[in-house]
Amino acid sequence: MSRTPEIDVGDYVREIPGQQFLVRTEAYTDEDVFELEMTHIFERTWIYVGHETEFASAGSFKTAYAGRQPIVVIRDKEGKIGAFFNRCMHRGATLLREPQGVVQEMRCPYHGWVFDLAGRTRLVSERGDPGGYGANFIEPEGLLRVPRLESYRGLLFVSLDAGIEPLASYLGELKAVIDAKLDLSPVGRIVIASKPYVCRYKGNWKLQTENIVDAYHFMHTHGAFVKLQAKYGDSTGDFGVHKGRSSREMREQRFRGETWSCRQGHGFARVPAADPGYLLDGEFGRMYRELLDKHGEAAFAGITAKATSTVFPSMGMIHQQIRVWRPISVDETEVLIYPYEIEGAPDAFNAGMLRSQERFYGPSGFGMADDTEIFARVTQGLRASSVEWLVFDRGMDSDERTASGDYRGLPSSEAPQRALWRAWENMMRQASKHA
């Protein structure tokens, strides 16, 4: 959209501790800032690429992006999952283009080179033809492996930074949120069976990062949905997620709980279950009672809490879904929404959760389209570049610094949004040092 002649990211985020937190307009609109983000954030963080259950058999693959670099994640014949740059070692064509599928091998359509499921070069076609490859030909051993691939409880992340800290340590305080979500399963596992919703919006990727953990917008952007819930309640698939109550009760419920700004850039908001007794005595009471017995009261409160979270920079867990967003340009972003199933839960539970996803998310749902519409309006508004700053002060005075170096805020604090910007500023400062 615009370019600033010299980037001084040191002045893009302005924080006066306990008082003020401002972000410069160009952080969302400047193409040079975007270029720096692609290399210095998306190639130096852990990027979510899929869940183990999406790789059911040998040859199961998914394509993904780390920033703008295309990647293929694939299960080999020994059952091991590997991540490679999705590019033929010969002359560069992408090997696999579908979002996911199953193959016997990776064959380049351009000149017929073949790589096996473990990425090794298996065939250099017409090798001995006249003018082919001679005795001194240095054959590439195989596809270039993405430096790091790690799993946390089945969630697969890659990083282009060979020296990055281990995934489990990178996730930090957010592990508690992931654990609680997965421990809703009697066997501690989730399954991705549904293909994702795919949306795009006209706006910067950080609008999605901010919004997925934004408790503040719900009663406004989604105010009409709150009214709809009050009228239709569970009957159309509410399923206790966005619990259908009056606007006043919804508001009160949202004033419980906490927000977190994690030092790695992750953020989350967590609200305790409105009525745990309702869960224990309800349709799925047996499942909940067994969870209570297994985990104890404190952990049970975490498991039944409603948490919305983001793993810096581009993955989130909210409701019963995994969400991934991919920057396409400074003002265009693609969002993938994967509903997941709770392994071991009754079929009716997972079916009900899926209905509730259909009700709110997807291009015809009652929520997602409102968010992306607002993102487009923000993008439009930010063209008023005469206004220098966006304001992220909310809850600054009540956030508390924890011993771990994170911040814990009150329920409607903008602490989770500040998490993004603190990490962003830190990484972008490094970028300008290297520039």
Binding site: E358, D370, Q380
Partner: protein
């Protein structure tokens, strides 16, 4: 019979274009389904759909569109359906009807605003299961196969 069926589908499209949503609701059987699948072949109960509306969900959708202010429909969409290639086969007590539909959608307002004044084309094969009763046809199922269902979607927060 084909003419009756075609007229019925034209009228259904016209009700949507005219935003006569309550009349549109009354075209459906009580156990009718309005569905927009995301993928063609899916394990039952395990795949999210774009729209998966039984009677109550259809009523909710119409109530929301007619009575509420919400960002995705402010201002509201206008549509114009073009229906063609209608093929009808009798199947038991139902008529199985296939059609090609080109649905132009736009939202009015200030055309300099992002998303407004743009003409979007939805291309779909729309299949119906129609039940013939005393009061004419009723929709037992309306299934919209978006041509670009494998790709990304924009704002589809209206009835199409």
């Amino acid at each position: 019979m084909l003419q009756d069926i075609t007229q019925f589908i034209y009228r259904e499209a016209r009700l949507l274009d005219d935003r006569r949503f309550d009349d549109w609701l009354s075209l459906f059987d009580d156990d009718g389904l309005y569905i927009v699948p995301l993928v063609d072949e899916a394990p039952p109960g395990r795949q999210a759909a774009i729209v998966n509306d039984d009677r109550m969900a259809r009523e909710e959708r119409v109530y929301h569109l007619v009575n509420h202010w919400f960002p995705a429909q402010q201002p509201p969409s206008r549509t114009l359906h073009f229906v063609s290639n209608v093929v009808a086969d009798e199947r038991g007590d139902l008529w199985s009807v296939s059609s090609s539909q080109l649905i132009h959608e736009t939202r009015g307002g200030d055309w300099t605003q992002v998303g407004l004044g743009e003409k979007n084309a939805i291309v779909a094969r729309v299949d119906y299961l129609l039940r013939r009763g005393d009061r004419g046809f009723r929709i037992h199922e309306k299934r919209v196969h978006l041509l670009d269902r494998a790709g990304w979607q924009g704002n589809l927060a209206f009835i199409y």
